[in-house]
């Protein structure tokens, strides 16, 4: 077994000391020293599905865009239509390259018509900022603001009950993918009803210096719901059950939104945007490969990168896979030629030299029941 990790030169969030004191298992996650689990991925995962969990996601990047043509800049680089947003509304989108592949996936928040707040992936944040800045031919100012924010995610059916205790904002009335600025746990915050777990929940952006106090306040407020601090391990299994994409796995520079099943974030009818021509052609001709979900029928656990066999021939690869703690199955996502990327097909996964049975299924694997 290989377990050694070098801890030198890893970046730390403002909550690093809190995680270490709590004896969380810390790992190198894309250059960040982050908690992968506190008491166990399964317990944390199930806490989020059944009650509430708290995640430190301060490694995520923030980019602020200001100026009268902010929306034009965003809409020239992103596949979704930011012009549709109203003040206080957020949108999932793709920052695309000219080939229609992903520079990154991101959340675009409209604070005001001349003020947008982007939340991007930790590992891509510097590249995203450079990409947007270098393509900025508009009257807009692009600021790399990651150092100004810590981000905490409160997720689960009791997230509302937990978070509501800490703010005068009317969180119950806040709609999914909307946000408000205001006091939260007695400090200034941006509170968004967003998440990456397939549950209801909130993502709270605060100043780094306020993060430790807010973290503790959330744990105290959630104590009656047995809130659990959760690591990135549970974050990954939760998003996989919900079949949400992860950069570097389902999506990357060579994968288009159509191939990744994210056609809903492509607005071909808006003015030209980076990658549009490739996507328009792909839309017309159809994709040659597509993401599809599967669950193991044989004894074995699929993992990222394993080969996928159809009729004994390796025709694709697993992009993400894991045991699914809430569903009690071994599940995964894989990229397959489009003619095979349909639910209900028998496939096999190449696990350490063995072909183990699986079948393609509809995604998401898990969908919460909305009240």
């Amino acid at each position: 077994m290989a377990t050694a990790e070098s801890k030198s030169a890893l970046k730390r969030t403002p909550l690093h000391g809190v995680h270490c004191e709590a004896m969380a298992r810390m790992v190198d996650f894309g250059g960040w020293h982050m908690p992968v689990e506190y008491d166990g991925i399964v317990a944390e995962h199930n806490a989020v599905r059944s009650s509430v969990g708290l995640f430190d996601v301060s490694h995520m990047g923030e980019i602020v865009i200001r100026g009268p043509q902010s929306v034009d800049l965003i809409d020239s680089l992103c596949s979704n239509r930011a012009a549709d947003l109203q003040d206080g509304q957020a949108q999932y989108s793709g920052l695309l390259n000219p080939q229609g592949g992903f520079v990154d996936d991101l959340l675009v928040h409209r604070i005001a018509s001349d003020h947008y707040f982007l939340c991007v992936n930790a590992a891509n944040q510097e590249g995203d900022f450079a990409w947007i800045r270098d393509h900025n031919s508009f009257d807009a100012e692009v600021t790399f603001a990651s150092a100004d924010y810590a981000q905490l995610a409160i997720q689960g059916p009791r997230a509302l009950g937990t978070a509501s205790k800490l703010t005068g904002l009317d969180l119950a009335a806040m709609r999914y993918y909307w946000f408000e600025s205001g006091e939260f746990a007695e400090v200034p915050a941006l509170v968004a009803r967003t998440g990456y777990t397939g549950e209801d929940g909130f993502e709270v952006y605060v100043a780094p210096g306020d993060a430790v106090g807010v973290w503790q306040a959330i744990l105290d407020a959630g104590a009656e719901y047995s809130i659990r601090p959760c690591g990135l391990g549970a974050r990954n299994t939760l998003r996989l059950e919900a079949a949400m994409s992860l950069y570097g796995h389902e999506i990357d520079a060579t994968t288009t939104p159509y191939e990744a099943g994210l056609g809903w974030i492509v607005k071909l009818d808006k003015p030209a945007f980076c990658g549009r021509d490739v996507l328009a052609e792909q839309k017309q001709r159809g994709v040659s490969r597509k993401l599809v979900g599967f669950e193991m029928t044989g004894r074995g656990i699929a993992r990222n990168g394993y080969g996928v066999l159809v009729g004994g021939r390796e025709l694709g690869h697993v992009t993400s896979a894991s045991p699914a703690p809430w569903l009690g199955k071994n599940i995964g996502l894989c990229m397959l030629p489009v003619e095979h990327a349909r639910p209900g097909r028998e496939i096999e996964i190449a696990i350490r030299g063995r072909a183990v049975g699986a079948k393609t299924v509809r995604i998401p694997f898990y969908k919460r029941t909305r009240q």
Binding site: M1, I41, G233, P323, R352
Partner: protein
Amino acid sequence: MEYPAEYRYSREHEWVQVTGSTATVGITHHAQDQLGDVVFVELPSVGARLQAGGPFGAVESVKAVSDIYAPISGDVTEVNESLIDAPEKINEDPHGEGWLVRLTVADSNELPQLLSAEQYAEYVAAEIDG
């Protein structure tokens, strides 16, 4: 954590306990602790010939899969079948009930090349501090 003094340990975090000509093999407390909740074990069949240092199966947690390596050479005489339904035994009792396989000892000269309990504890401490 106490590492049994009568066991020998590999740098890949397996332990071996030799009784006469039979060796019992498992993964260490440190190994299971690093993995987290074990949910799946893949073990060889009885009769399989293991080569010291060669992979002979895998232990998987939700998060990760770890190959397991034979600390010594030998033929598998027994497999801990109870782990198929109760892989958590590896977390609960890694040096006892969570054993993986039993082997015939093919070459007793391989044993001194493994670490003593004291050496292994130091090795793990250095790895944690690294």
